[in-house]
């Protein structure tokens, strides 16, 4: 090693270590990966397993203590009428919220991806990012203000002489209630509001990847605007919408704060988990309830992955 190597002999420890990594690139990858993988693997996945384990225990009705014996009886409880209602109600809400978010998000995403240029682009991006990252509780609180009986919505309805409409809506069975902040409509609105940025950003990312000459090509081949939308734009945006729906669906399934603050007294999965593990002390049933969104999301993620949604994440 005299002529081919650099003139200055380099024997520092770091260089020696660097040489080792150069000869064993996999060792370096492994060393880099190990700490985060241990963290996620042990702390997080380990916790998930701990939860799963709990769901196979049961609560002794008489003593109120957890019986540490393997049983499926806790899962059987999920199928009792009241519990099944909670699950169905939550899944339906998550599906509706996802659908509404997709419909409202699309024009914003489309405008931002296709038409916004320069400063409008930056403005759109920030306008979506800021509500996404601003405080969740603050956002929920804002809707408490809006939907309150004496709040801005009622005031506007009165000003526009539409009070009859508002009262009519509140009088509707199931989705109505004493005021918007104690109704399913209110819960739904807040969910859509809070999660919609999660839908806009991936949809926009997918749309930005559609080169405008695809649209020109479609037009050139004789597609009218509607056909272009149906055959080119929408299919290419779909992975983005699915990626966004992962968040809107999952977050709605597990939320327990929004329905607690804005909504009626009927429970959703998140609230059930929260009350069961807290005041009721029924950890096994809480765990079994928590496994439901986990299982739903597992299937959902698997399908999303097959449809290429992860590429736009």
């Amino acid at each position: 090693m005299t002529t081919a190597t650099l003139e200055r002999p380099r024997t520092s420890l770091l260089t020696a270590l660097s040489d080792t990594f150069f000869r064993q690139p996999k060792l370096l990858t492994l060393l880099l990966l190990l700490p985060p993988l241990l963290w996620i693997g042990v702390v997080y996945v380990g916790s998930l397993f701990a939860l799963l384990l709990q769901s196979f225990y049961s609560l002794d009705d008489f003593s109120g203590l957890v019986n540490h014996q393997f049983t499926l009886s806790t899962y059987a409880q999920l199928f009792e009428e009241a519990n099944l209602q909670i699950i169905l109600r939550t899944v339906l809400m998550a599906a509706l919220v996802t659908l509404a978010s997709a419909i409202i998000a699309f024009p914003i995403a489309y405008y931002a991806a296709r038409y916004a240029r320069g400063w409008t682009k930056a403005l759109f991006y920030l306008a979506v990012m800021m509500p996404l990252w601003s405080s969740y509780l603050v956002k929920v609180y804002a809707w408490k203000l809006i939907l309150a009986k004496e709040g801005i919505l009622t005031w506007m309805a009165e000003g526009l002489h539409l009070k009859w409409l508002l009262d009519g809506i509140l009088a509707l069975p199931v989705i109505g209630g004493p005021s918007l902040s104690f109704s399913y409509i209110g819960t739904f609105l807040v969910f859509v509001y809070v999660w919609i940025p999660y839908m806009i950003l991936p949809t926009q990312a997918a749309l930005e990847r559609v080169p405008s000459n695809y649209l020109e090509a479609a037009a050139d081949l004789g597609a009218d605007p509607r056909q272009t939308f149906n055959t080119v734009i929408f299919p290419l945006a779909l992975p983005g919408i699915i990626a966004g729906s992962i968040f809107t669906f999952s977050l709605t399934l597990g939320d327990y704060i929004i329905p607690q603050i804005v909504g009626n007294s009927r429970l959703m999965i998140g609230q059930a988990v929260y009350t069961l593990q807290g005041t009721a002390g029924n950890i096994p049933l809480a765990a079994a309830f928590a496994v439901v969104p986990m299982a739903i999301m597992g299937v959902y993620l698997w399908m999303a992955k097959r449809m290429g949604a992860f590429d736009v994440l």
Binding site: I40, L48, S134, L137, A148, A218, G254
Partner: protein, 278 residues
């Protein structure tokens, strides 16, 4: 959808009116509620959310500052938790991104899915899982259990920012550096770090913002301690002086706004990666 479709055909002529109205209405829907929060911080009515407010005052800012000592400990705790969780996430998220961008290896896809899991699954699952794990291990709930939980989902934010930048970092630059005599560590210091630095800073900022107002996981991993969001939640459920809650909310809006704007500024030259998969 027809207005969107028309957009395609008339691209050169600018955006169609219907689409523009839909987009702007959507954005207003996103922002007006936050404006209301600010408005109600100045109302004279403290028991209800009467609109329009019967009168305006700035006294609640003084009340929050001088007469509500219960605000300060949660604020300090939130800042402390966010700072430590962000630091941990920065280290772990960067390592993960570096490893996964280096090479294709078996199981890479699965591992990257694993890192996204803490935000893809509902927060309540992360919360209750961590709680049962802490129970099983006999860990007492403390500041550290809160930090442990926060770091878990903050890793993803840093990871997402870092991996996007790592992918754009041309492999040629690293080879060029080694070709010019720099060993792995020197290459990291002089070439890789300057290239990914702003993305890491942005990721760190967003992680801080995320941790600072997290409430769902925190509820499960906190013992007697209360962070600012937990304080706020209890105020929402059992209000004492509603406008004081608004004052704190306005403060929270601005505390989270600064890192978001900074993160945007730091990554604006590149792709918009920051929040696409928060």
């Amino acid at each position: 959808m027809s207005s969107d479709a028309k957009a395609v055909g008339s691209k050169k002529a600018g955006s169609p009116l219907g689409l523009r109205i839909a987009a702007i209405t959507g954005l207003l829907f996103l922002h007006l509620p936050l404006a209301l929060i600010i408005l109600y911080a100045f109302t004279t009515e403290e028991r209800s959310f009467q609109f329009p407010p019967p009168g305006y005052t700035t006294k609640w800012f003084g009340v929050a500052w001088y007469e509500r000592p219960d605000i300060w400990p949660p604020l300090y705790l939130s800042l402390k938790v966010a700072a430590i969780a962000t630091l941990m996430a920065l280290v772990l998220g960067t390592l993960a991104a570096a490893a996964l961008s280096r090479a294709k290896f078996f199981g890479r896809e699965t591992i990257s899915l694993l890192f996204i899991l803490p935000i893809a699954l509902p927060g309540i699952i992360t919360g209750i899982s961590l709680r049962s794990a802490f129970d099983i291990m006999g860990l007492d709930f403390s500041v550290w259990t809160i930090i442990l939980g926060h770091a878990t989902f903050c890793i993803v934010v840093v990871y997402n920012n870092a991996i996007a930048r790592f992918r754009r970092l041309s492999g040629n630059l690293i080879e060029a550096s080694m070709d010019l005599g720099a060993d792995g560590f020197q290459t990291f210091r002089y070439v890789i770090l300057p290239q990914i630095g702003s993305a890491l800073l942005a990721g760190g900022m967003l992680a801080f913002a995320l941790s600072f107002d997290e409430v769902i996981v925190t509820t499960f991993t906190a013992g007697q301690q209360s962070t600012l969001p937990i304080w706020m939640l209890s105020e929402l459920i059992r209000p004492r002086q509603r406008p004081v809650t608004n004052v704190v909310a306005v403060f929270v809006i601005f505390v989270t706004l600064i890192p978001i704007l900074a993160a945007y500024y730091l990554t604006r030259e590149g792709e918009h990666t920051g929040g696409a998969s928060k």
